[in-house]
């Protein structure tokens, strides 16, 4: 963007009309009458400007009674301003405007003659043109200022989010470490007293703290790697149906002895896609572990479908559900909702943030729909990268779920197929 003080008057030259000073007035008038847009003509002798004729003033004089008779044959120099405003081409625009407007009122809007370093005639600049240019640069300055302050605000916000993030990380890392330290002390006392019951109790507390810490550290490392752009996508050709069933089985284990069934609804037979299997699994695991945590009874359904060129995998549950106002909080780091908070210990508030980031990395998207008290569905869309190297069951057509098979994993971990 052009800086206002870089604008010099020389850049605004619109015409370099000029005539010798002894031209007949009639001829100059003719010139004006023929070109409607010509406002002024410089009178130049050799290359030196010595006067300025303006359309308005010349025609006014000539069209008066007897004007042509009286003045028509005279040299134009006799009828014109012989002390026109002459400004060097490198003069600053604002200074030039001041000079122009300082002139007598009747001359204030006359064109300005521009000269070069040798005082030779370069051309004419209109005052109107100058003022338009000036207000444009003022507007630009204002826009620039606004842009700068918007940028500053953005940075401030990012800074705030970052420090909020650091504060959260610090607290959340310390918290399990503190549990572990205290419990270790308690274990110490137990062993001094030979208190086996105490040892058992405190060991399981210690494990829980350590597990939480491990999850947290893994999550934080994952997230910072993603945010630093250091996460590589390593595509492989793999069968998404098998993966879905495996995730289903893991989910069933996470549910423990709550009466929640897991259903896997997918094409009967393999569907090979090109994507990063480790990352796809991480996304699915993050979603199903939430479903397992926040569902007390009912079922969790993993299902696969094709939508255009996308593969869509959804995880839905009959759990606590999420209030509408909370939906957009979920993907922010460390957000854990109060009505699910009894399970806070088991989470880090980073699972969904990570899942969303990975989904983006794989070129997909993630959607959520939920009804508080009824259940939640997360849907992940991943692009189907078609590859011809294995059986071409990757196209949407091939995945059209004619051959759907539902696998139900019940509490007793026996699985049976139906459909």
């Amino acid at each position: 963007m052009e800086q206002d003080n870089a604008v010099t008057i020389g850049k605004l030259i619109i015409s370099n009309e000029c005539m010798p000073p002894y031209t007949e007035a009639n001829i100059v008038a003719d010139r004006f009458l023929k070109s409607a847009h010509l406002d002024a003509v410089a009178l130049v002798e050799g290359r030196e400007p010595i006067g300025l004729v303006t359309r308005h003033k010349l025609l006014f004089k000539l069209f008066k009674r007897y004007g042509f008779e009286l003045y028509g044959k005279k040299p134009i120099i006799a009828l014109t301003d012989t002390e026109p405003l002459i400004i060097h081409k490198d003069e600053r625009l604002d200074v030039a405007i001041d000079k122009a407007l300082e002139r007598q009122a009747q001359d204030a809007y006359d064109d300005i003659i521009i000269v070069d370093d040798n005082d030779c005639y370069k051309g004419l600049v209109s005052v109107k043109q100058m003022i338009i240019q000036q207000s444009n640069s003022l507007a630009n300055i204002i826009i620039q200022k606004e842009m700068i302050s918007a940028k500053v605000n953005e940075l401030k916000k990012a800074e705030l989010m970052k420090s909020q993030f650091v504060a959260n990380v610090t607290h959340d890392l310390r918290s399990p470490v503190n549990v572990i330290t205290v419990v270790a002390e308690l274990l110490n006392l137990d062993s001094e007293r030979n208190d086996i019951e105490g040892l058992k109790r405190h060991l399981s507390l210690l494990m829980s703290g350590a597990t939480n810490l491990r999850a947290l550290i893994n999550n934080i490392l994952d997230l910072s790697k993603i945010e630093a752009g250091k996460t590589e996508v390593l595509n492989e050709n793999f069968d998404i149906v098998t993966m879905l069933r495996e995730v289903g089985e893991t989910t069933r284990i996470l549910i423990g002895n709550k009466s929640v069934d897991v259903e896997v609804i997918a094409h009967d037979g393999p569907i090979f896609i090109d994507s990063d299997p480790v990352k796809v699994k991480q996304i699915l695991t993050n979603l199903t572990s939430n479903a397992a945590k926040f569902t007390e009874k009912g079922k969790i359904v993993l299902s696969l479908a094709a939508e255009g060129n996308n593969l869509s995998i959804s995880v839905s549950d009959t759990g606590t559900g999420i209030k509408e106002i909370d939906l957009n909080k979920l993907f922010q780091p460390f957000s854990q909702l109060d009505y699910t908070k009894s399970k806070k210990n088991e989470g880090t508030g980073l699972g969904l943030t990570i899942a969303e980031n990975i989904v983006k990395l794989l070129g997909g998207s993630i959607r959520i729909s939920s009804k508080f008290g009824v259940g939640t569905t997360f849907t992940v869309q991943l692009p189907i990268n078609q590859s011809d190297k294995t059986n071409a069951k990757t196209s949407a057509e091939a995945i059209s779920l004619h051959d759907i098979k539902t696998i139900v994993l019940t509490e007793h971990e026996e699985s049976y197929g139906k459909g």
Binding site: H171, R174, N178, V182, G209
Partner: protein, 127 residues
């Protein structure tokens, strides 16, 4: 006559901190109550009239600071000393203490500091 045990209430949403803290302080001879859910906490405090409240700060539903303001503005609870009990760093804890009119703070993670400071705040309950 048997000495009446001092009552301490620990409010924290992390179950493990509650269990560990309760054990440590019970071993010290206090009667320890725990509360992990903000709903009805003011009523609970009013009825219990503990000698000291240890309050976690980072709780998603109702922040410890919000809760302390609530307790300190309520006539039935405002004279009960509140001490923040948190994993936050000490600088921010010090600030929070002076900002919210708590008696002080105890950093989580150190049994000895916990015992010592609890004894201190109970002995120095100047109203």
């Amino acid at each position: 006559m048997e000495k009446v045990k001092k009552k301490i209430l620990v409010v924290d949403d992390d179950e493990r901190h509650l269990i560990a803290t309760q054990e440590v302080l019970t071993n010290e001879g206090y009667e320890v109550f725990t509360y992990s859910w903000w709903l009805g906490v003011t009523n609970f405090v009013r009825r219990l009239q503990p000698d000291l409240i240890l309050l976690d700060i980072n709780m998603p539903a109702l922040s410890g600071t919000g809760l302390s303001s609530l307790l300190l503005s309520n006539s039935g609870t405002k004279n009960i000393p509140i001490v923040f009990y948190s994993s936050n760093d000490e600088d921010s804890l010090r600030k929070t203490v002076s900002e919210y009119g708590a008696r002080g703070y105890i950093s989580k993670g150190n049994i000895y500091e916990l015992k010592r400071k609890v004894a201190y705040y109970l002995d120095n309950n100047i109203q």
